[in-house]
C-alpha cells in the first residue's frame, strides 16, 4: 500500500501522539491533527487528506457528527473511527454516519494497519 496523507482527530494530545507515531511507523504521512469535531472539518477542507482517523467523544462536536459534516461536502472522504466505544449502537451510528471502518482502543499498529488496508481495498479506488 502507498503512503497516505492522514488527518488524525482526537481530543487527547497523548492519543494524538500515539496515533501519529503508529501511522508514521507503518509508512503513512501526517497531513495534520485536530482536537475537536469542528477543527476536524476545517482541517479536512484545507488539507484534503486521503484518510481521516476520527475519535468519537470530543468537545464541541462529536466524531459522528463531524464525519457526517465532512461527508456532506466530500462524499468520497475515507474516515475510520478510532474510539474506546465498542457499544453495538455506537458502531451502528458510526457506520450510518458514513465511516468506512471502526477500530477499538487501545489501538495497536497491527490492528490499525489491517483496518486501513481493508478500507483501501474496499473503497480506495472509488
Amino acid at each position: 500500500m502507498n503512503s497516505l496523507r492522514v488527518l488524525v482527530v482526537d481530543d487527547s494530545p497523548i492519543t494524538l501522539k500515539k496515533l501519529c507515531k503508529m501511522l508514521e511507523d507503518i509508512g503513512h504521512t501526517i497531513a495534520g491533527t485536530a482536537r475537536t469535531g469542528r477543527d476536524a472539518i476545517d482541517q479536512y477542507n484545507v488539507l484534503q487528506p486521503e484518510l481521516v482517523t476520527m475519535d468519537i467523544t470530543m468537545p464541541d462536536m462529536d466524531g459522528i457528527e463531524a464525519t457526517q459534516c465532512i461527508l456532506q461536502h466530500s462524499p468520497k472522504a475515507l474516515i475510520i473511527m478510532v474510539t474506546s466505544h465498542g457499544q453495538e449502537q455506537m458502531v451502528i451510528d458510526a457506520i450510518d454516519s458514513g465511516a468506512k471502518g471502526y477500530v477499538l482502543k487501545p489501538v495497536g499498529e497491527d490492528k490499525l494497519s489491517e483496518m486501513i488496508q481493508k478500507v483501501f481495498e474496499r473503497y480506495g479506488s472509488s
Binding site: D11, S12, P13, I14, T15, K17, K18, K21, T57, M58, P59, D62, T83, S84, H85, G86, Q87, E88, Q89, M90, D93, L104, K105, P106
Partner: protein, 162 residues
C-alpha cells in the same frame, strides 16, 4: 440511576476487571489484589491524581479513577514509553494519561452492558490535582474498588443518583 435498573456492583466489577486487564496487558503492571467497598460512602478520598467522566444514557453516572503518585508515574512511563515527550509537556501528559485510561476502560466496559438499540455517551474526561476529598450529596450513591499494585493504589469510584 437506581440499582433496580443497574447492577452497580456488577458494573463496578466489570470496570475493575477491565482496568486490571489494561494495566497488565498494555502496561505490564500487575494488580495483586482488588478490594470492593460496596457499602455507601459519605466521602470520596482522592489520591494524588484523579480523572473523572460522566456517562449518560442507559447508565447515568460519574466515574472516577484516583491514582497514587508512584503508580500514575509508573503508568505514565509505560504508556508513553515509545513517545518523545518534551520536559515542559510532562505534567500535562501525565494528566492526559490518567484521562486516557479512564476513557478507554469505560468505553470498553460500556459495550458489555449496553442494551440493543441503546447508546451510552461519555463526557471527555476531566483531571483533578491537589484535591483531597469530595463529600457525598445526600441523594447520591457511591461505591468503590481499590486495585493494589507494587507502585500503589488506584481507586475506582462510581457515583450516581439514588
Amino acid at each position: 440511576m437506581s440499582e433496580e435498573r443497574l447492577d452497580a456492583a456488577g458494573f463496578l466489577k466489570a470496570i475493575a476487571g477491565r482496568l486490571d486487564d489494561f494495566l497488565k496487558d498494555e502496561l505490564a503492571i500487575e494488580v495483586s489484589q482488588t478490594e470492593y467497598h460496596l457499602g455507601d460512602h459519605n466521602r470520596i478520598e482522592l489520591r494524588y491524581l484523579t480523572s473523572l467522566l460522566g456517562v449518560k444514557g442507559q447508565v447515568q453516572m460519574f466515574i472516577l479513577f484516583s491514582f497514587d503518585k508512584l503508580l500514575i508515574q509508573h503508568v505514565y512511563e509505560a504508556y508513553t514509553a515509545e513517545l518523545t515527550i518534551e520536559d515542559d509537556e510532562k505534567e500535562l501528559m501525565m494528566d492526559e494519561t490518567s484521562g486516557d485510561l479512564l476513557n478507554i476502560v469505560i468505553g470498553n466496559v460500556l459495550s458489555t452492558i449496553s442494551k440493543k438499540g441503546k447508546r451510552n455517551t461519555v463526557t471527555p474526561p476531566l483531571t483533578l490535582t491537589d484535591a483531597k476529598n469530595l463529600v457525598r450529596h445526600r441523594n447520591a450513591t457511591v461505591k468503590s474498588a481499590d486495585l493494589l499494585t507494587a507502585s500503589g493504589l488506584v481507586s475506582i469510584y462510581c457515583v450516581w443518583p439514588k
